[in-house]
Symmetry: C2
Subunit: 345 residues, 2 copies
């Protein structure tokens, strides 16, 4: 833990290059309108001195921070138990890096933390925010709106006043669910159950809707509410088996849930897919490929979602003069899903 050596300033670079600070600044920031020889001398001085701009000083005048916040508002347990967030982070990180923008990670642990996040966002420390995993009753969107920070949401936000003007990136959860259930139906299955995700999240609600789109007015006993976890999947599967012993297929709201369901099925001596076919959602590789049997599932390109969230945000940030009305940037993006066939259905 050595003390940082005093770093060279732009002043030093200018002196060394024999130019004014203003010129040095111009070169460092792209060098428009500076004649070649001068520019080169500055660049060389930068090189020799190992000059790196002081971001604080720069922000102070530009009011830009070249940093965006990533807010993950998920109760302790689920975050990262599931590789989901990690993959999104990857995608986000790649895109931000390509635009020389830093990623400030804000993890929240509960209600108290919301205020902290709100304060931080309102504090104008970042140029924008990427927000994940909102639940229906989440106070965060309100705080963020009040903070007035440009924001892109991960997953369609679910509050009642609709999604007008809100930017988000999501997978086509409903369409993917339809495809999954149609696939099961195409296999000749007629009593197809559904294990839902946490229904206070739109992804779960949309998948349920997709299921209903295909099966029509489903027997309510064919639907078991769950929470996206393996343990929840086990519980739901038992419930389904109890209420509707004859079922011959299950569409689970995600792969983790499906893995729990598979375990229960095996424990009960039911063969997959012969007795009960199972389809998951996500195509979370470490899960879907490792289950026994490997899981047929609906793939969503999670990393791409992250990348697009970042891109959408940065694009909005770039329009330095965001004239009301003259706004033709798409506010939201819904990505297609694809069915990946493995052995479970």
């Amino acid at each position: 833990m050595t003390e940082t050596a005093p770093r060279p300033t732009l002043e030093a670079v200018a002196a060394r290059a024999g130019v004014s600070r203003a010129t040095a600044s111009r070169v460092v920031n792209g060098g428009d309108g500076v004649r070649r020889p001068l520019a080169e001398r500055v660049l060389q001085a930068v090189e020799e001195l190992g000059y790196v701009p002081n971001q604080a000083a720069r922000s102070l005048v530009t009011k830009r921070h070249d940093a965006v916040a990533v807010v993950i508002a998920e109760p302790e347990t689920r975050v990262f138990a599931d590789p989901f967030f990690g993959l999104q982070l990857r995608g986000i990180s790649k895109e931000l890096t390509a635009h020389d923008t830093q990623l400030v990670l804000l993890l929240t642990e509960g209600r108290d933390d919301h205020a902290r996040v709100g304060r931080y966002l309102a504090g104008g420390h970042v140029d924008g925010a990427l927000v994940f995993s909102l639940h229906l009753d989440d106070p965060l969107p309100g705080l963020i709106q009040r903070a007035g920070v440009p924001t892109v949401f991960g997953g369609r936000p679910g509050w009642s006043d609709g999604t007008h003007g809100i930017a988000y990136v999501d997978s086509d959860n409903r369409g993917g669910a339809r495809e999954a259930v149609r696939h099961l139906a195409g296999l000749g299955r007629t009593r197809i159950g559904h294990i839902t995700g946490a229904l206070d999240q739109t992804s779960a609600a949309d998948r349920l809707d997709g299921y209903r789109d295909v099966v029509g007015d489903a027997d309510p006993r064919l639907i078991a509410e769950s929470d996206f976890t393996p343990a929840g999947g086990e519980r739901a599967m038992r419930e389904l088996l109890e209420n509707r012993p004859g079922l011959d297929a299950v569409f689970a709201a995600n792969d983790l849930t499906a893995s729990g369901a598979l375990r229960v099925l095996r424990e009960r001596g039911l063969r997959v897919p012969e007795d009960v076919a199972v389809v998951g959602f996500d195509d979370m590789l470490p899960v879907a490929e490792q289950t026994d049997p490997p899981l047929t599932t609906v793939r969503q390109n999670i990393e791409e979602m992250g990348r697009l969230m970042a891109r959408l945000l940065l694009r909005g940030l770039d329009r330095d003069d965001p004239e009301e009305g003259a706004d033709d940037t798409p506010r939201s993006i819904v990505l297609p899903t694809t069915l990946v066939r493995r052995a479970s259905a």
Copy 2:
């Protein structure tokens, strides 16, 4: 994406409270030596105006950023496939939050990124760095050292010149491995194999050492080199079974590897633990509890490791006058592990 409204400055707060900017500043920063009534007026003005300090301006003069970089230098695939990093991030985030410090996440994708990270760290944008997942030949430590940023490593760094003066937090990998192997021996197993992790990481090397500590001069055919992944675990298990069909126990370098090994064992019709007992490492809940049979494993407190890394770093940062020599803060911490018995051994 609304434009941020102009934010109130300290000047505005001071004016409203009828004091000087200096006094307002004092109050905002803890309020030492400001008389009650004045302080209260300032606080009220802050409240009314919704004032939040401009961090850029503050950093410019204090040279502190109240931000720490977390560098995860892991090839795309493994990060977050494994909940490991997520858990550490949690721990880190909690500790940093408690100290009003922001977490800047730096994910690297390959060699080129190292330079970027080096530049960022050298750029003096953060007060310190928390660095993970170094491999033996990693250029990052060098870059970081040159950047002169206070750093704490996650996991014992492995470069040749020893760990003198380097701060790190690690689990007692060697001791944990010993305990695992002793447990197997205590079960009466005599032909205990080991599936290693990626041996260019000290955690893997240390676990192998621990294994050797107990079995003595092991038959080399009892050791299969692997890489911490489930697929690697499968490969290694097959290799072990081929080279040493009579083995009756396996200690795998982590739970993911163990899960791969279990799959191969099942596929070969070998019963666990009757024919072959298996012990993992990590106690990664979503993995260890979900395998069939559930995994006996060595638990390390990953979140706590993260928390301690952050604490170590912040403590070093707090010593505003880091006198050489007069340094009694512990440089590194090695956390104990505990054996968790489940059904696999």
